[in-house]
Symmetry: C2
Subunit: 565 residues, 2 copies
């Protein structure tokens, strides 16, 4: 490609709303242009990168035996009614009425449509297992679309759905997809981790997220320094401390703590470390209020608490009024000692091994010191309801947990029978008996990968693409202000030579000043840059610089070609 | 690909609503499955064909210098308001309100979005000409979706838009696209014609349709047997007859024609050929009624009449009441003789050269014989308002017109300044002065091509794909009921040998009976079939049959390989 015949449009200024580095750089490099909130046009440059990601995803899906197909983006309400998701999916589901007032949605995902397809197409166990996928535009009506294509409303997704008779077959395909995802992100040159994930509202048995490691990531993951263990912090188990609870040694004593409400305040006021305090949350349970106790320095994990039988799917904190009415004190002074018997008291594993701790006094502006479980406060049940922290032991018993931030770019799920049962998708087994199929689903955020890669790989000058994602592998920059025929010929010849070897090369023949040209090539992240100039042609050398190298160096044409095998 | 690992699902019965051969065959071959009215899932088999068409379109667009990009499918109302098309586009525009009650549409086309992109991206004449394209899902909310993917609501389209300073540049790119379209349809192995088309409501100067010739086509095209001339009949000019109007030789005479209303009835009743009759249509013009006279055997061409200054864009016939009120007789007895002076009388070129003709008497149940222009009836103006018929002289003066039916698969337009002006898309010219850009637009119905190819190429057994569109080029059918190792080895070896040569091959290893296997391969239209059987392995031969050949023949492996170069 000659840049003079391409539409490259780097820009200097980007709107203030672009917070993330990837969003800024994609706008500055001219990869995307905003059409409306959460809607982006992929420019020719951006599309080149997007298509490279798409191609790697397709190759590895095909290699893993998945079969590509294509479902409509517009899906009828009736199918979504069958699974109850027409209502349950929430505001992200973009609902559409056609000219005949029939209801449809713009697909945010395709479990319903593929299950409908499967129940018509698959009749016999002999057709199983089968794994269908598509690479297709999806729409989620985010309430606050932001971060460019990282959280766009319209985006490109690879979604795959497998069908099985029996869990063993599902587990096999799940593993095949897990492996394929590993190959995809490895081939794309990304640092990533496959982490255990909560299966959440989508249901099912097993689930892994594929997280690109980046400081700006919205997800927090915990991984072991001594094993392959990795999990979303939402899911990572905090083991019971190895120590037993010490015997009480202090007497229970109520102290005044005027206006001291948070753990930090109380800890500082009483000169007791937060690790020796117990904090108590009051939430609304299925049958009245529930108290949750955690060690003062630990964060509450809502996803884990969601699974407690006492609580509802969406945890709602009790209001101040409700707390005062039930306990007689305001939040900030609540604690387990003397809590009304009607309120179940769920204690986190790490809080449960404390002795002589500080906790709220259940009277405004007071706390207890020297509090002890059993002696002073009952325990309804000990549970894991906190977020893990760096330094916690790994749940698999091997090593210690570390914490990193990640961007979710892939997700694999064992859905089990959830959708097939709701939609009566059965096949005949080898006995001729109808059996509900089991399903897996496997998603990759194709457009999000582009942004995630930039979050992981950039510097002050711009993007550092992994080679497989770069719009071009090599840029030949021609510096020829005098329009000398030898310089043009040398640049054209090098360009042709590289192209003939199947190396994706772009010739910057726009006639810009060297500085502007180099800045553009660095901004758009071309991995290899070669300069053809009058001086170089005279000396028989080229100036070569790798995008991630500190300096350029002089090479001959032969040396350059050897760089690319 | 091994069919045992593919999802091939041919079916015997198709719904009665499938009228077109292509719709029936695509359902029977299992290429598409209906999700809802006008919404189709492309199965793995169907998608293979669709992607092949897409690839050829992309290659030729790239070769012609167009640059691929990707716009959102969901577009904001504001841009459509700028051109007035939010209202004017009509019911085909699928309108969508998001969760914040902002209005959007599912793009049926992208003139507004690309013009908005261009007015932001293009600042200088130096960036022109430029031609952007995308291959993307579109939606048109057809009032009566039918014919499968031929007239689906959601469909795959290639749309390109070029920007220019000056008509000469627009004409050049238009020609380049015209040529590229010719290469695309030629490479796809289709019989087609590029025909002059009416520019219709989209406006602009020049326009050609690319029509795949097929008896089931909805479009009618006229082409010369003596030149390259071809046009949609809507557009094809009917020349003035070479003969002059004969002098009157008969006297005007009113005759009773009780209950004879149509030309056929009057012609039979009076024993006068339809070619010697004049029929008169009364339509509502901008300022009252207008009469249109045609030769009895000719069809009225509304598109041509639309352009008459007396008439409105959408021609509306006058009602019986209006006609009776204005003329005093009902439709069926109306004619030019004695028509009120207030009604302009537009006469078709072929009707204008008649003498001694029959026409309505303007009194119920009467006609005139021996009528003559000028002597008996005035002529306001002579115009071309009829459809051409086979045998008419070609408008370019070379040869005679023939008539064929076609399926529109491509359309190129010179839009001129229509959109750029409405949206104020300008660039600075070499004098630094802002100039409105000129635009061209170029569409290809990618998914429709699949159906059109089937309409053109099929037989009783199924589809006959042109090789570039076939899901696979060769099918190796293994007949091995005894499970003999030599037969399996021979089939696998042939499969590998073909695949190694880059020939797209499918191995039918499903273990079906030969008849069922052959029927499937014929239905899905694989161009070349090879049978590996016990007998063949023993004889060292293969049974080969081309899809379009009457008989199979025995070949050696070497002979077979030579077939594919």
């Amino acid at each position: 490609m000659r840049l003079s015949q391409f539409h490259l449009a780097t820009v200097k200024e980007v709107p203030a709303e672009a917070e993330l580095v990837s969003h800024k750089l994609m706008l500055r490099a001219g990869m995307i242009r905003k059409l409306a909130a959460g809607l982006y046009t992929w420019t020719p440059l951006g599309l080149r990168v997007l298509r490279k990601v798409e191609a790697v995803v397709r190759e590895e899906m095909d290699r893993a035996g998945a079969i590509e197909m294509l479902m409509p983006t517009v899906q009828p309400r009736e199918l979504w009614e069958e699974t109850g998701r027409w209502e349950k999916f929430g505001g992200q589901l973009l609902k559409i009425a056609d000219r005949k007032a029939q209801d449809f949605c713009y697909a945010p995902t395709a479990e319903e449509v593929i299950t409908d397809f499967a129940r018509q197409e698959l009749k016999s166990y002999k057709q199983l297992p089968v794994n269908f996928y598509q690479i297709q535009t999806k729409f989620r009506d985010e309430i606050r679309p932001r971060f460019g294509v990282m959280r766009a409303r319209e985006f490109l997704m690879k979604d795959a759905y497998s069908f099985h008779l029996g869990q063993e077959s599902l587990a096999q395909t799940y593993q095949a997809m897990y492996d394929a995802y590993g190959r995809i992100f490895t081939r794309l040159g990304l640092k990533f981790r496959a982490v255990q994930a909560d299966t959440g509202a989508i249901g099912g048995n097993a689930s892994h997220e594929f997280q690109v490691i980046a400081d700006s990531g919205e997800d927090v993951i915990a991984f072991s320094d001594g094993s392959d263990y990795a999990a979303n912090v939402e899911k990572a188990e905090a083991l019971s401390p190895a120590i037993a609870r010490p015997a009480p040694s202090a007497a229970l004593s109520r102290v005044d703590t005027p206006k001291q409400k948070t753990i930090d305040e109380v800890s500082a006021f009483l000169r007791v470390p937060a690790t020796q305090c117990v904090k108590t949350l009051i939430v609304k349970g299925r049958e009245g209020l529930v108290a949750l106790c955690l060690r003062g320095d630990h964060a509450f994990n809502e996803v884990k608490a969601n699974k407690l039988p006492e609580l509802t799917d969406d945890i709602v904190m009790a209001s101040e009024e409700e707390i005062v009415a039930a306990i007689g004190a305001k939040p900030g002074s609540i604690g387990p000692v003397g809590l009304p018997e009607s309120i179940p008291l769920i204690v986190d594993r790490s809080a449960a091994v404390l002795a002589d701790f500080v906790c709220g006094g259940n009277t405004d502006d007071t706390h207890y010191t020297g509090a002890n479980w059993e002696r002073d406060a009952r325990i309804t049940r000990v549970e894991d309801i906190r977020q893990v922290v760096a330094g916690d032991p790994s749940p698999d018993g091997l090593g210690t947990l570390r914490i990193a931030r990640g961007i979710e770019v892939g997700h694999v799920f064992q859905l089990g029978s959830k959708y097939a049962e709701a939609m009566d998708a059965t096949v005949l087994d080898d006995q001729g008996k109808a059996q509900v199929m089991l399903m897996g689903c496997y998603g990759i955020g194709v457009s999000r990968i582009v942004a995630a890669a930039i979050e992981q790989r950039h510097d002050d000058a711009g993007i550092l693409w992994p080679e497989p994602m770069a719009p071009w592998r090599v840029a030949v920059c021609m510096i020829n202000p005098k329009g000398q025929a030898e310089v043009t010929a040398a640049a054209e010849s090098l360009y042709s030579e590289l192209a003939a070897r199947g190396i994706e090369v772009v010739l910057d023949d726009r006639g810009l000043r060297p500085g502007a040209m180099f800045a553009d090539m660095e901004l758009i992240g071309i991995p290899h840059r070669v300069v053809v100039s009058e001086r170089g042609v005279a000396a028989g050398t080229l100036e070569y610089r790798a995008r991630d190298a500190a300096e350029s160096r002089q090479v001959t044409v032969d040396e350059l070609l050897r760089l690319f095998g």
